[in-house]
Amino acid sequence: MKLILAVIKPFKLDDVREALTRAGVEGMTVSEVKGYGRQKGQTEIYRGAEYAVNFVPKVQIVTVVDDAIAPAAVDAIKGAAGSGKIGDGKVFVLDVEQALRIRTGETGSAAL
């Protein structure tokens, strides 16, 4: 199994979720994060004090998938999250040793 960690633009979340579902992914875990990279953050100025906000809001998706569909899942994210503009984000793939569904105790692919 693979753990796919994707960092995308917040408003692309629904598109990516749908694309992943189409690619056969059945579950995922999402969190609000702040990203630092080529895309620069807004500058806020309050009464003359300037705060260069170095981080931009991003959404991080973690989904663990069967080895078999990992490439399709990565492609799905790539397709749905891309806007061609700087800051579209990244996808990282890591190897997962074991998975467990808490409710049933199922392990491995059956747990996803």
């Binding site: 309050y46 009464r47 003359g48």
Partner: protein, 491 residues
């Protein structure tokens, strides 16, 4: 205006020699000292304030005109000073409005501007100050500010302790403030003035936000209320040497007493405390401008009680004060917004709110003396002036006036106090017939001098008793947790 009893009727103005200043400060310090001493054994001292109060026929009689109704043709119902139910209704309402300014108005205005980890501590400051000043006012400050000292010489500087614990305040007896009749019950007058005494130290808190100890805040508030606010209020409104001068310093609703006073005290605090940890490096962006917007709005609405209420009656003077307040505030908000738009490329909510407050501050001393065109001009100048002060002055002199207590209240108060001497219009208020920039400047200087020195001394007292700043760790962790053991839980 004259500096001491001898030349009270003399129009040649005050001579700013070091000597008279020293004398004056010493006199007031003495008065304050007495107040303090007397407080311990308050019951012992039983001065009868009304008996032969010399103020009643002195030039001081024009002071209450400065503060409102009596001298205006729009308020004819105070001949025999029976309380008028309409006047009383408006003053009861005004009292509620001015209280609303501090809690929750100012608490939110400031609370929204700090970092999230300090928001509870910041709003707790306004709330605690409200409680502390209430008691101090009841015990002694009302008497110091609005009592009539049996010793006419001392009465120039403080009102004595004759009204301590509200002695002599009754349900029905007509009463006078600075020699003038008032058409509302004294309990109502006392309450109305109390709300002014509450907001003034609360304004200072903007300067020391995010680093002052809560215990220090409590002690500071007690001392400052007794030794700074109460005497200055007496000088201007209670028949003291500023309001009782010829011509009197014009301060309709508190340009000197409230705003210059609080602004300068704030500057002193900022200088003594030093900047916040990480100032100029860490992100100290306001965490919730919605709170700040609510605060600014409640300040605005409540200020109707502050300014229109300072007519001490329900009449045309209250009406024009309200109109002036509205127009100056809107003008200042728009002026600040445009100035910021030019400099920062975007107009902001914080700018609108700050500009509005700047306008409210500046129009305060003027509101019952000028006509709407005067208010408009004062507003425009205050909007740009306070913007420049908040943005450049602080940067120039590198002090950390966290939420711009000095930039907005000090500078705005000065602009308003001085311009009142320029725009006062006798058609609006006969009491403003004689007005002079010079007299106004004297009022500002006297206020600044006293508040600067006394605030510094009070801070020194706190420093060697409660201490002034929270620990470095506490500052990093946030005052909410460090001082109060509380936190916002937004998840």
């Amino acid at each position: 205006m004259s500096g001491n009893g001898a030349d009270m009727g003399d129009k040649k103005g005050i001579k700013m020699t070091d000597k008279t200043w020293a004398a004056r400060l010493a006199g007031a310090a003495l008065a304050a000292g007495l107040a303090w001493g007397a407080m311990s054994g308050a019951t012992a001292q039983t001065a009868t304030p009304a008996a032969g109060a010399p103020a009643s026929s002195s030039p001081a009689a024009s002071a209450p005109a400065a503060a409102g109704a009596p001298a205006t043709p729009a308020a004819p119902h105070n001949s025999n000073a029976k309380p008028d139910s309409g006047d009383t209704a408006w003053m009861l309402t005004s009292t509620a409005l001015v209280l609303l300014m501090t809690i929750p108005g100012l608490a939110l205005f400031y609370g929204g501007m700090v970092r999230r980890k300090n928001v509870i501590a910041t709003v707790a400051q306004s709330f605690a100050i409200c409680c502390v000043v209430t008691l101090v006012w009841y015990v002694a400050s009302y008497s110091i500010a609005f009592g009539t000292n049996v010793d006419a010489g001392q009465n120039k500087y403080w009102g004595g302790l004759g009204k301590a614990l509200l002695r002599g305040v009754t349900m029905d007896k007509p009463f006078q403030i600075a020699g003038a009749d008032v058409t509302i019950p004294e309990y109502v007058y006392m309450m109305f003035q109390m709300t002014f005494a509450i907001i003034t130290p609360a304004l200072i808190a903007g300067a020391f936000a995010e680093r002052f100890k809560f215990s220090a805040l409590l002690l500071f508030t007690v001392l400052w209320s007794l030794f700074v606010y109460a005497p200055i209020a007496h000088w201007v409104w209670g028949g003291g040497f500023l309001g009782g001068a010829t011509p009197p310093v014009l301060d309709f609703a508190g340009g000197t007493v409230v705003h210059i006073n609080a602004g300068v005290a704030g500057l002193v605090c900022a200088l003594v405390l030093g900047p916040r940890k990480g100032y100029g490096r860490d992100n100290m962006a306001p965490h919730n401008l919605v709170y700040t917007m609510i605060g600014a709005s409640l300040l605005w609405v409540g200020w109707f009680g502050f300014n229109a209420g300072s007519a001490v009656g329900s009449n045309a003077l209250a009406g024009v004060a309200m109109a002036n307040t509205q127009i100056a505030t809107a003008a200042a908000a728009i002026a600040w917004m445009i100035a910021e738009w030019l400099e920062r490329k975007k107009p902001g909510m914080l700018g609108l709110a700050s500009g509005a407050v700047a306008g409210l501050v500046a129009v305060t001393p003027a509101s019952g003396f000028v006509n709407p065109m005067g208010a408009l001009i004062i507003g425009l100048i205050a909007g740009v002036g306070c913007f420049l002060a908040a943005v450049y002055l602080k940067r120039l002199f590198k002090y950390d006036d966290s939420l711009d207590a000095f930039g907005v209240h000090g500078i705005g108060g000065l602009i308003g106090a001085l311009l009142t001497g320029v725009f006062a219009d006798a058609a609006i208020n006969p009491a403003g017939k004689v007005h002079s920039l010079y007299t106004q400047a004297i009022g500002c200087v006297a206020t600044i001098a006293w508040t600067a020195v006394a605030t510094f001394l009070i801070l020194m007292v706190c420093r060697f008793t409660t201490g002034l700043r929270v620990s470095e760790e506490g500052e990093t962790e946030g005052l909410d947790a460090a001082l109060h053991g509380e936190a916002l839980h937004e998840y």
